[in-house]
Symmetry: C2
Subunit: 308 residues, 2 copies
């Protein structure tokens, strides 16, 4: 069976939309899609590309490639506190293999449907394997969480645990729950939505906590004090690495797609969440001050992933 | 000088927005951009990828690659009758070459500024050269031009001339005005906007008139009669090919990025435009009936470009 672009779209991507978080007037099949943003809402837009052998190893399954490509985009929406609404998919493929496309489509729609996110358009082209997704979220006017509003005295939190994804990238023979942290990261949409009106600043952790928190500090013109042995590490991770190695993975390895956010003291009582851990605070002194609970300075050795 | 992702964005892409057709609350530099759609408007969204050696020859300049990548996306907005507002750019590059990035940025912003279109975000990744742009346009509620509303009796029009781009792809030694039709196509935004409330259906011609008109026919459940020797061909084109070759290029070669649209008879008087030509009409009989003015049937030999 020879598949052309239209066959691929019809067979693998033009799925009935079971439920969407926002209004779709015209979906796949025209020159462009037509959508409507609800009244009193703003639109949040992000795009991320995954390239074979750069962002994922060549042995990665089509299901996981699709899942992760969508997850990293939804994670950016989570970091803004937005609710996912629609996505587009630009898929560049060396060949049209039916099994691969079936698996890719399954991974994509499993995650999309979970967050009631509709695929409204895209482009299928021939070339080296690469996936660019653009995600659109909605948020009530003025409530988006930005990087540039951390205030001196804010407490700094991260969601869940960090570092597992970094280990999963280094070793293929690990328990599935650790591997999943790299191959199927969970966008923290629900926590992001709950942080509206509570967090002063937020970012998702894609390049390692040190690099990503660094973006908040730079944009907000503040510094931070982080107590490295308060960074949450999973029990699974600590079965394979020392606490020191775990801290280093958390600070520098990236790919966790957890959130890092800052909350002023007077809103701490509203932050009623078992899945977040306080790891430090925003300071007036610029730069990132890393130390242990006993006061000993932590020496940061590696920077986040550099794309060039 | 070693450029990292942040340097590249700051130096070549984070340009002050001189004028935009719609409200930008937060542009480049956070996890996502924040924008607002004007009241009583809908949002039109499209995405297209250009891959090196597939969508453009390897000798194409960085300026032209950027120009065309943006143009084909804006062309989709034109085909919907939308006004361009914002775009995102996902750029995958084998290496960060300063001269190449300067030229690419110049080509990109020359066209973006011409249409008051703001770059609000993107992603720079390392990998085989490929450009995915997503364009957002706005349009008053309910006025978008779709493929699925052509009515029996509508007259069929195309803008300007067809076929030049097809010739330009075949030969590198042609006058600049013909080469430009392939390398720097002009999105027909102004004509698209004027067709709101006049045209029943519209599409842009990317795969050749026969294939693209075919999409309107299929979606609208109608047929069409085209008089092939009424298809407008440029004088420049006819200096290099016969009328027969010109017709074939227009019908099958693609890359023209002109518009094809249908207008009911009672709105013809509102279509006051010197840059459009009537080439046939929508019929009840399904399929595409191609013939000459003298009644002789035209035998279509080649289909539009197949991506797989």
């Amino acid at each position: 069976m020879t598949l052309n672009e239209f066959d691929i779209i019809q067979t693998f991507f033009n799925k009935p939309i079971t439920k969407s978080n926002a209004n779709i007037i015209l979906g796949i099949g025209d020159d462009a899609a037509i959508v409507a943003v609800p009244e009193h809402h703003e639109l949040v837009i992000t795009t991320d590309t995954l390239v074979a052998n750069v962002h994922f190893p060549s042995h990665t399954s089509a299901y996981d490639i699709a899942y992760k490509a969508l997850a990293v985009n939804l994670s950016d929406l989570a970091a803004m506190g937005a609710t996912p609404a629609w996505v587009t998919l630009a898929l560049t493929l060396p060949e049209a293999n039916e099994q691969w496309l079936t698996d890719f489509s399954n991974g994509f729609f499993t995650l999309a449907n979970h967050f009631h996110t509709a695929l409204i358009g895209g482009d299928i082209t021939r070339g080296p394997l690469s996936i660019t997704i653009q995600a659109h979220g909605i948020i009530p006017k003025g409530l988006a969480l930005r990087r540039d509003n951390a205030q001196v005295g804010d407490l700094i939190f991260v969601t869940h645990t960090l570092g597992d994804a970094g280990l999963a990238l280094q070793h293929q023979t690990l328990p599935q729950n650790i591997l999943d942290k790299f191959y199927r990261p969970e966008p923290q949409i629900v926590i992001g939505e709950k942080l509206r009106g509570i967090a002063n600043a937020a970012i998702d952790i894609s390049d390692g906590l040190a690099a990503d928190l660094g973006h908040i500090l730079e944009k907000s013109h503040v510094g931070a004090e982080i107590i490295v042995d308060k960074i949450p590490l999973s029990h699974s991770l600590l079965e394979f690495v020392s606490i020191e190695q775990g801290i280093q993975l958390a600070l520098t390895a990236g790919d966790d797609y957890e959130l890092c956010f800052t909350v002023p003291e007077n809103k701490l009582s509203q932050l009623n969440n078992n899945h977040v851990t306080c790891i430090g605070k925003i300071t007036k002194n610029s730069g990132l001050d890393l130390h242990y609970q006993n006061g000993k300075k932590y020496d940061l050795k590696i920077h986040g992933y550099q794309h060039f």
